[in-house]
C-alpha cells in the first residue's frame, strides 16, 4: 500500500474530540451559551449571555436560525454548554411544577425591539403571576392606547417568553389571542397560573 494511502487513514476520534469540545464549552470562553432543555411545554431553546438570559425559544426544530440571529446581533462566540444554564433551568423547572411564581434572573434585552416595542415588554414583565391584561390595556400602559396591533406585534417578537410573561395578555372579552409558541402553550400556561379554569 502506498505511503500516501497509509497516511490518509483516519483515526476514530469522535468520542475523544467530543469530550474535549464539551470541556472547552463549559470553560466559560463563549459570550453566549445555549442548550435545548426538556419542559412540560416541549423542548425549549435557552440562551444566556454574560449579561443575563438572552432568549427562550419554542421552535427547537430551527436552532440554527436562533444561533444565526444571535451571532449577527449579539456575538458569534456561541457555544452549547448546558452546565452554564443550571440557574435558568432550575428556575424554569420550579416554575413549571408550581414551586415558583416569579423569576429572579438577570435579563439581557439585546434581542428585544427598541422604543415602543421595548416599553410593551417592560409593562408585560410586571404583570403578576395569575393576572392578565388586555392588549388595549397593555398598549395604554406602554404609552399609546391606539397602538393595540403594534403591542400585539411586540409581544410576538418577545425574545424571553415565559419569563417575560406575554402569555398574560388576552383579548378584550377573554379570548386567548395569539402566542409565539402556539395558542395551546398559552392555554397551558394560563391554566397553570389559574387565570383559565383547567
Amino acid at each position: 500500500m502506498s505511503l500516501e494511502r497509509v497516511l490518509s487513514r483516519k483515526q476514530d476520534v469522535a468520542e475523544a474530540s467530543e469530550l474535549a469540545a464539551r470541556r472547552f464549552a463549559e470553560s466559560g470562553a463563549a459570550d453566549v451559551t445555549y442548550a435545548v432543555e426538556p419542559s412540560p411545554l416541549g423542548e425549549l431553546f435557552v440562551a444566556t449571555s454574560r449579561r443575563g438570559l438572552l432568549e427562550i425559544g419554542f421552535h427547537t426544530e430551527d436552532v440554527p436560525a436562533y444561533l444565526q440571529r444571535i451571532a449577527r446581533r449579539v456575538s458569534p462566540r456561541i457555544l452549547e454548554a448546558p452546565g452554564r444554564l443550571d440557574a435558568v433551568r432550575r428556575q424554569l423547572d420550579d416554575y413549571f411544577v408550581g414551586r415558583r411564581d416569579t423569576f429572579e434572573l438577570p435579563l439581557d434585552w439585546a434581542l428585544a425591539r427598541q422604543g415602543f416595542g421595548r416599553r410593551v415588554l417592560d409593562v408585560t414583565a410586571r404583570i403578576p403571576y395569575g393576572d392578565a391584561l388586555t392588549y388595549r390595556e397593555l398598549a395604554t400602559r406602554a404609552g399609546n392606547p391606539r397602538a393595540v396591533r403594534a403591542a400585539g406585534s411586540a409581544l410576538g417578537a418577545n425574545p424571553l417568553p415565559i419569563v417575560v410573561p406575554c402569555h398574560r395578555v388576552l383579548r378584550t372579552g377573554g379570548a386567548l389571542g395569539g402566542y409565539g409558541g402556539g395558542v395551546e402553550r398559552k392555554r397551558w400556561l394560563l391554566e397553570r397560573e389559574g387565570v383559565l379554569g383547567a
Binding site: 500500500m1 505511503l3 500516501e4 497509509v6 497516511l7 490518509s8 487513514r9 483516519k10 483515526q11 476514530d12 476520534v13 469522535a14 475523544a16 474530540s17 467530543e18 474535549a20 469540545a21 470541556r23 472547552f24 464549552a25 470553560s27 470562553a29 463563549a30 445555549y34 440554527p64 444561533l67 444565526q68 444571535i70 451571532a71 449577527r72 456575538s75 458569534p76 462566540r77 456561541i78 457555544l79 452549547e80
Partner: protein, 157 residues
C-alpha cells in the same frame, strides 16, 4: 452582508479533524491540551475574523502554532513522551493510522512534519497548507515532498 457562523457550528464541523491533526503533530498525550489552547485562541480572535476567510485553514493555522508551542515546551521539560507506546491506542491493523509511520512523521523537521499532517490528516489543499505554514505554496509543496521522501526511505512496511 455575510456574517460569521456561530462558533459552535465551526467547532462541530472541524472538531474531529483538528483533534486528529493535533494527535498527529503533538502526540496523543499533548493533543487534548493543544486542542483546548487552539479553541481558546480561536474563539478570542473569532469575532474580528473576515467572514469571507477560509475558516478551516485559519483554524489549522492556530492548531499548528499550538502544536509547535507544545513541542518546544516538551523539549524544555525533556520528558520522553515519544516513548509512550502509541500503538496501544491504535488498532493493530485494518483502517487505523499506522503508529510507527506517525512516529516517523513526528521525527521530521517541523515544517515537513506540519506539511504532512496538514495535507493528509486535515486534507488541506496545497494553497491552504501554505497559508497554515505562513509560507509560499511552492515552499509548502517542497516541504511536503521532502517529508514524504524521507518517510519513504525510513518507513518499513
Amino acid at each position: 452582508m455575510t456574517s460569521l457562523p456561530p462558533f459552535q457550528a465551526v467547532l462541530d464541523e472541524h472538531r474531529e479533524d483538528v483533534y486528529r491533526f493535533l494527535i498527529a503533530l503533538a502526540g496523543r498525550q499533548e493533543a487534548d491540551d493543544c486542542f483546548q489552547e487552539t479553541l481558546m485562541s480561536a474563539i478570542r480572535a473569532y469575532p474580528k475574523l473576515d467572514p469571507a476567510a477560509n475558516l478551516r485553514a485559519w483554524l489549522f493555522t492556530i492548531a499548528r502554532r499550538k502544536a509547535v508551542d507544545a513541542h518546544r515546551a516538551r523539549g524544555r521539560r525533556a520528558i520522553p513522551v515519544e516513548t509512550v507506546p502509541e500503538a496501544a491506542v491504535a488498532p493493530a491493523n485494518g483502517t487505523g493510522p499506522d503508529p510507527e509511520l506517525w512516529g516517523l512523521v513526528r521525527e521530521l523537521p517541523p515544517k515537513q512534519r506540519a506539511a504532512v499532517a496538514l495535507r493528509f490528516v486535515a486534507d488541506l489543499s496545497h494553497a491552504e497548507v501554505a497559508g497554515a505554514l505562513d509560507c509560499s505554496e511552492e515552499a509548502a509543496r517542497r516541504s511536503l515532498h521532502e517529508g514524504l521522501e524521507r518517510l519513504r526511505e525510513e518507513w518499513v512496511r
